[in-house]
């Protein structure tokens, strides 16, 4: 039993934990450039996290153990998902633990507990955030499943490592069904990671918040863990999209020497995705909450069209 796959696994988790704030920093930098402002630099999220870790935790008087446990759980599920999604290499020892459906369910656990934490303190803002978040999640799930279905139809598996291996072996070509599924995935990723036009991550107006409203009462290291998990979620959704639709560059061999090249490809792809996110966020305005049915309905429609196109055209 070689030890190399385990080393690669640990490296990948390290990359996830270490580089997720840098990715968010990159997105914020490009957004500032696009809007004609001066950015705070690529490393600002690290500084924010360090500041939060060093501060005291102020807990509301009636916070229960769920409130204190949730940040650790959310962080834990994000790291576990990072160990399963192929970011640097296909042959991960943890990869068979979960297929795409399980990864979506891991994010669902995190969302469940954050929603509970939002209701725990008993403020109006927390309840509002939880209620809106669960509504958005319930609309995004069917679309997500259809997109997964389409991808798994084309690649005959729901396990991400298998999907990438099928793509590498050249058996799947650019099909219209995958293009539709990709568009649907982009819309769903915007909804799940809470970017414009679903939720504005930089808002200070409480009545427009969804995700921020649920974590309003957190402080100190708890808030640091939740913010970090949020950054990792954006990173993970991007790597999920890359793994399912454009995986070229992920190492296929089990050798350590293949990792630096994979890392370089990953950085280039993430850079491009960051620019794309900024283009979408600056070009669109945040939607009213009840117009999200149309938005997520369009995602469902695209995913279903992808599935139908697979049967009709291929």
């Amino acid at each position: 039993m070689t030890v190399v796959p385990y080393i690669i696994e640990l490296l990948q988790i390290g990359v996830l934990i270490g580089l997720a704030p840098a990715f968010v920093g990159w997105v914020r930098m490009v957004k500032c450039w696009a809007q004609g402002r001066r950015s705070a630099g690529l490393l600002q999220p690290y500084r924010d996290l360090a500041k939060l870790f060093s501060k005291d935790v102020l807990l509301a008087e009636n916070a229960s153990w769920i409130f204190r446990f949730t940040p650790y759980l959310v962080f834990g599920t994000a790291v576990l998902a990072g160990g399963i999604i192929p970011i640097l290499s296909i042959d991960l020892p943890l990869a068979p633990t979960a297929d795409v459906i399980v990864i979506v369910a891991l994010f669902a656990i995190a969302r469940f507990f954050i929603a509970l934490a939002g209701m725990d303190i008993g403020t109006a803002f927390g309840g509002m955030g939880s209620s809106r978040e669960m509504m958005i999640a319930s609309l995004a799930e069917p679309a997500m499943l259809m997109a997964i279905f389409t991808v798994s139809l084309a690649n005959r598996s729901t396990s991400l490592s298998e999907i990438i291996q099928v793509i590498y072996s050249g058996q799947s070509v650019i099909r219209p069904s995958l293009a539709f599924a990709f568009l649907a995935f982009v819309l769903i990723a915007l909804a799940e990671t809470g970017r414009v036009p679903v939720d504005n991550p930089a808002t200070h107006l409480e009545l427009t918040m969804v995700h921020e409203a649920m974590i309003l009462e957190y402080s100190g290291r708890h808030l640091a863990l939740i913010e970090w998990a949020g950054m990792m979620k954006l990173f993970l959704f991007t790597s999920l999209g890359i793994a399912a639709f454009a995986p070229w560059g992920i190492a296929a061999r089990e050798e350590l020497s293949a990792v630096p090249l994979a890392l370089l490809y990953m950085i280039i792809k993430f850079g491009v995705v960051g620019v794309a996110i900024v283009l979408i966020e600056t070009g669109l305005a945040k939607m009213r909450l009840f117009r999200l049915t149309e938005f997520l309905g369009a995602a469902f429609l695209l995913a279903t069209l992808g599935m139908l196109a697979f049967f009709i055209l291929d």
Binding site: I174, R175, S177, F180, T293, L301, L305, A309, L313
Partner: protein
């Protein structure tokens, strides 16, 4: 270009035609509708040109050019001018809400797939799998005419329907004879002019192009 690449490009363009049809179904802004219609015409003309290249029927080049000039350039321009002149409101109301129309559209696609299954067995053309999409485009055009309340969207629905029929002709029999194509193109042009004239009249009489207003024209007892 070898055959399978052509087949892939054909499928891709067909998928894009279907996407624009759905886009028109759910779009609420008039300028967006016109732009989507123009894109649909562009994809159609590209598809016709490629099919003409592969099948060796050179008259399809002419129809592709015709489609390009008519549906991508001329008709959208006419509609733009109409909307500007009549100062029409730029938003469209729907009778049924948007998610429901999307679901009906999906059901129509599945239905047309089911319907064209026997044709797929018999046909030997490269484009046989796109017949289902063409039929779906026709039905979505009709659905658009039913679920919208604005006269301009009615005509765009009609034009989208005609797009679908044209697409069906290309995929089922590698296009119609050139004479028929020219005749149909001329008909479309005339229809567009007549619609334009009618719009002016309706607008002057009712002061709006909402077709619900025309429900006033009925027997009262």
């Amino acid at each position: 270009m070898e055959l399978t690449t052509v087949a892939h490009i054909n499928s891709f363009l067909a998928a894009l035609v279907l996407l624009t049809a759905f886009g028109m179904l759910v779009q609420k802004r008039i300028y967006g509708l016109i732009h989507l219609f123009a894109w649909q015409g562009l994809f159609l003309s590209l598809n016709t040109a490629i099919v003409g290249y592969v099948a060796g029927k050179h008259h399809l080049y002419i129809s592709s050019l015709l489609t390009l000039s008519l549906k991508v350039i001329l008709l959208p321009y006419i509609l733009h001018v109409l909307i500007h002149r009549l100062k029409i409101r730029k938003e469209v109301e729907t009778i049924v809400n948007i998610p429901m129309t999307m679901l009906i559209g999906i059901a129509l696609v599945i239905f047309s797939y089911h319907l064209t299954a026997p044709v797929r067995e018999l046909s030997t053309l490269i484009t046989r799998s796109t017949l289902a999409i063409a039929l779906a485009t026709v039905m979505i055009g009709l659905l658009m005419m039913i679920t919208r309340r604005h006269a301009v969207t009615q005509i765009i629905g009609f034009l989208a329907l005609e797009n679908g029929l044209f697409f069906a002709a290309t995929s089922a029999t590698y296009g119609m004879p050139l004479v028929v194509e020219l005749g149909v193109a001329l008909d479309i042009l005339i229809a567009a002019f007549i619609f334009g004239i009618f719009f002016f009249h309706i607008h002057t009489t009712f002061d709006s192009l909402d077709i619900e207003q025309m429900a006033r024209l009925r027997e009262e007892d």
